[in-house]
């Protein structure tokens, strides 16, 4: 049931439900590879997701995944929430952007219990602070780690190595 550009009506419905209440929160709407992506302001994200969860027209009641993305050029950390309506089989991706130095956002655990570990993972790798999270600890990395390893400023390899020329072998 993947819809192409000519048949946007079900997606339009989601957009109109969102705009009805939260017009001023929407930054932009994209459609990369036929996947509705809505960029939002970060302040009321949990409220918006709760609204999309409850609204009879959208019913986005399944959180497929949640992850962080670091954009070092914009000095931002983005959070991607991917929601799914099981009965109409529509998917939506919501993205918010947080400042790199102090990424703070409300927790989604109030809506989805499944967000618990996904948020812990995001905290672990990007240092995003989820306000009100019941148990915000590192999950995959060791507890005494002091960095957030998926941020772009931490290179994968030891930078003091001299036996390898990065000009030839990429970033």
């Amino acid at each position: 049931m993947e819809s192409n550009n000519t048949d946007l009506t079900p997606y339009d419905k989601i957009i109109s439900v969102l705009k009805e209440e939260y017009e001023e929160q929407v930054l932009s709407i994209e459609f990369p590879y036929n996947f509705l992506t809505i960029n939002l302001k970060s302040e009321r994200i949990v409220e918006i997701i709760q609204h999309l969860y409850n609204h009879p027209e959208t019913k986005l009641q399944y959180l497929t995944t949640l992850c962080g993305i670091h954009y070092p050029d914009q000095k931002q950390i983005a959070l991607m929430y991917q929601l799914h309506n099981m009965s109409t089989n529509l998917r939506v991706r919501l993205k918010i952007f947080l400042p790199e130095e102090k990424p703070v956002v409300k927790t989604l655990t109030s809506v989805f219990d499944g967000a618990n570990w996904m948020e812990r993972e995001t905290f672990d790798f990007y240092g995003v602070m989820f306000e009100g999270h019941p148990d915000l600890r590192r999950i995959l990395n060791v507890e005494d780690m002091i960095i957030f390893p998926l941020r772009k400023e931490y290179p994968l390899e030891d930078q003091t190595r001299e036996d390898k020329d990065n000009k030839m072998f990429g970033r």
Partner: protein, 402 residues
Amino acid sequence: MNKAQDIVTTSQQEEKHYSYLNLGPTHPATHGIFQNVLKMDGEIIVEAQPTIGYIHRAFEKLAERRPFYQITPITDRMNYCSAPINNIGWHMTVEKLIGAEIPKRVQYLRVIIMELARITDHLICNAVIGVDTGALTGFVYMFQQRELVYEIYEEICGSRLTTNIGRIGGFERDFSPKAWEKIHKFLKEFPVVLKEFGNLLERNRIFMDRTVNVGGISAERALNYSFSGPNLRAAGVDYDVRVAHPYSSYEDFDFIIPVGTQGDVYDRFMVRQEEMWQSLSIINQAIKKLPEGPYHADVPDFYLPPKEEVYNNMEALIYHFKIVMGETDVPRGEVYHCVEGGNGELGFYLISDGGRTPFRLHFRRPCFIFYQAYPEMIKGSMLSDAILTMSSMNVIAGELDA
């Protein structure tokens, strides 16, 4: 003062009759590296505190430094019981990004491989449920069949457990006559064994007493916890990526999605049993309908040319060099592709900035997501039921920890 003392003594008494048990990290009954600190009231579990990450290998970070074709072996090591599904899922993600047109034959061959992988995944899980209830016979019997499937993989790609099967665009070679022979042998032998295994456990009084109403979860809770795959279907939700978002021509095949009602160990076992039968039927349909044609797509920028071409043809040499050195131009874009893995929706969220490696690659790992419901599912049950619940959820450490 008297009152204060009272409070202290009662809380001390309360503390006294709980004991703490460290289940794991390396316990033979947990089939992998999982640690759970259990707060026990006698034999009853009051609270569980899971710790994960013992085999974390930083796949998402590794992927940011590797060219696209070098990420395939990383995906092997996630759900290693059904590695081909991970490999092919990743190939399809890249194909979606570059907009490659995949020949029908490749899609059908992929379906055959993926369904074989699903069978191996489910048969291990079900056989292990048997072991944890004390029925070792079925386990040994089923593992012989897994060996047959691994021989098929070997014939197709040369390796067994971590397969690294296929390439972006298709397969490195067509299936050999030997491979077909082994596939037909498996299709002939496996149904007999599966039937027998089913007879051994499906209506077995002891097995049912042990598994019915153990470690259950309701459909609402399962959805709230973002369950997917057999565990969600056992709870009664008919969500299957193969049907909801068909990929690789799954829409051409006729099969049913088995669902359970209680979401307990028995339902998960039965759902997996039935899915194996469905997988067998899909493989048979795919072989029957298998079209002729090339075994790889026409994407010279990503698909390695044959070696004799590389030595004798300038263009092939250039492509070979560009692919191996990771100098191929990749479109910018954001892609999400998901496949129905052994354990549920295995998703690849790929952001490409046009560079030689992904800018960001996030794996949606079903195990990682549903394992967080484990403390809730075993609360109030016995220790031996907790072991059974874990094996019936088919938690794979590699996928859990990435």
